[in-house]
Amino acid sequence: MDLNYITGILTLAGINLMAVLGLSLLTGFTGMFSFGHAGFMAIGGYTSAMMTVKFGLPFIPALLIGGLVAALVSSVIGKLTLNLKGDYFCIATLGFGEAIRLILDNVQYFGGARGWPGIPHHTNLLNVVIINIVAIFILANIVRSKHGRNMIAVREEELASQIVGINVFRYKLISLMISAAYAGIAGGLMAHYMTFLQPKMFSLTKSTELTIIVIFGGLGSISGSVLGALVLTSLPEILRAFSNWRLVIYGLAVVIIMITRPSGLMGGYELTPSSMKTLYTRMKNKNKGLPNQMEGGKTI
């Protein structure tokens, strides 16, 4: 395998990770499932490509504008749909994602269904990694703040959240907007990596893939999302040797993980220096034959 190939896969994994991180906040921490995040990726992708191609803006500002526009669109969608409960919100996002794709199919300004070639190549492994690190840093700080705790409370028990004074609608909206901004930036990265955009790239399959990665990695775990994005983006490539069977194996891997670890790879735990230390001491205690303590025993 040559280096370019590996770099390519890692870059793609990084782009996916960016979108997954946002969805992780929405699904993993706020408890709302979305099947329309490819739509926000499309909005961010086309917007940032427009900024670089038609207005000659530099790459990073173009990315940020893409994320911003995706967030603004999500706020409109959110105001309309966030009062819907559970499954209904999910279906509304599914409809939104498909609608965006079909609209782009018919906008000739962006090349319609034929696609839009000639977008400058700006995305590389280095800037993807840097952007992801910043994104993880932001997300981690949000999650461990009172705002993050309020989102988790909304996920756990909506009525009780309201009774302790949490504005449930507001936190759902914030969570949706941040996740849409992340997806938008991911779309922009993708546009400037592929140098080509086509509505087909942002189909329901893409949205589903993002949600699968979040669940696979473990709801409510940022490190789980990172792990999930890396594993599930590279897995189909690693399995290329099996040609036609690779997607079957991919599917099987997901099913097996979900059966054996229903709460995902990380399942609510985080991989931080302090958690690794606890894990290490616990393993040492186990080897000494000390009785297993009850501490931190998360139930599934």
């Binding site: 700080n141 703040s145 705002h147 705790r149 309020n150 988790i152 009525l159 009774i163 302790v164 025993g297």
Partner: protein, 254 residues
């Protein structure tokens, strides 16, 4: 001085009147009780006060301000908080996280300040942590702070729910059957706990319960509901001797 006044409060579900024309005042700094047979509309009144249900008719006045049909989170923010008959904790979070989350209103740093972790954000976070630990200490839950809430024994889950409610610095605490499922010993403990909380946090309490020893033991004022209507109101002594109440609870001699 009354902290809470219900004026002509009515709630109908379709053709059923769950609460009809109820007038009631909760005195300041007191412990009041709300009793009645099953289905009398007690919990409905709690749901109306806290904004979970929309009021059909009538008004709810809290500290002289009309809070009728306000959003539940705003009502909570203005100083009314409650516990639930069927406990509603953040089940998968630890005891500590449950209380810490509820402390959120004591900090006012914004989302952006959280992202860059400004000194203000760090300072307030530390204060929240202290407050949560203090509350756990007062409620006797400190040694179990790292347990998952769902794994607590039932009685302690109720205690945790009260601790979580206190994190909001409420002025009025609504307790919905706090003694449900408790044995007489635990009920006595709960009575002292409620009296302690009232004096320590300087708040008013309104309790729904079926344990008459609890209600008669600590309430200064009691309202009896039957089929959504107020049957009687008064001191425990008056309620115990009220023929209408005796009739509703025990029936009339043939």
């Amino acid at each position: 001085m009354n902290i809470l006044e219900l004026k002509n409060l009515t709630k109908t579900f379709g053709g059923l009147t769950a609460v009809g024309n109820v007038d009631f005042e909760v005195p300041n700094d007191g412990i009041s009780g709300l009793i009645g047979p099953n289905g009398a509309g007690k919990t409905t009144i709690f749901n109306l006060i806290t904004g979970v249900y929309k009021v059909t008719d009538g008004r709810i006045i809290f500290k002289g301000k009309d809070i009728t049909n306000m959003d539940p989170y705003k009502i909570a923010g203005s100083g009314i908080t409650r516990t639930f008959q069927n406990i509603r904790l953040f089940k998968k979070l630890t005891v500590y996280e449950n209380v810490l989350t509820a402390c959120h209103a004591n900090a006012n740093y914004g989302l952006f300040e959280a992202v860059v972790r400004t000194p203000k954000c760090r300072k307030q976070e530390k204060e929240l942590e202290e407050k949560a630990n203090d509350l756990l200490d007062i409620m006797g839950l400190y040694d179990r702070r790292d347990l998952i809430a769902n794994n607590l024994p039932y009685g302690l889950q109720r205690r945790l729910e009260i601790a979580r409610a206190l994190a909001l610095n409420p002025e009025l605490l609504l307790l919905d059957e706090p003694a449900a499922g408790m044995n007489p010993d635990e009920t006595v403990q709960l009575m002292t706990l409620i009296a302690d909380i009232r004096s320590k946090f300087n708040l008013s309490v309104l309790i729904i319960d079926h344990h008459m020893d609890l209600i008669m033991g600590i309430c200064e004022k009691i309202m009896v509901l039957n089929f959504g209507c107020k049957l009687a109101e008064g001191t425990p002594q008056e309620i115990q001797n009220n023929p209408k109440v005796i009739e509703a609870y025990l029936g009339v001699e043939g």
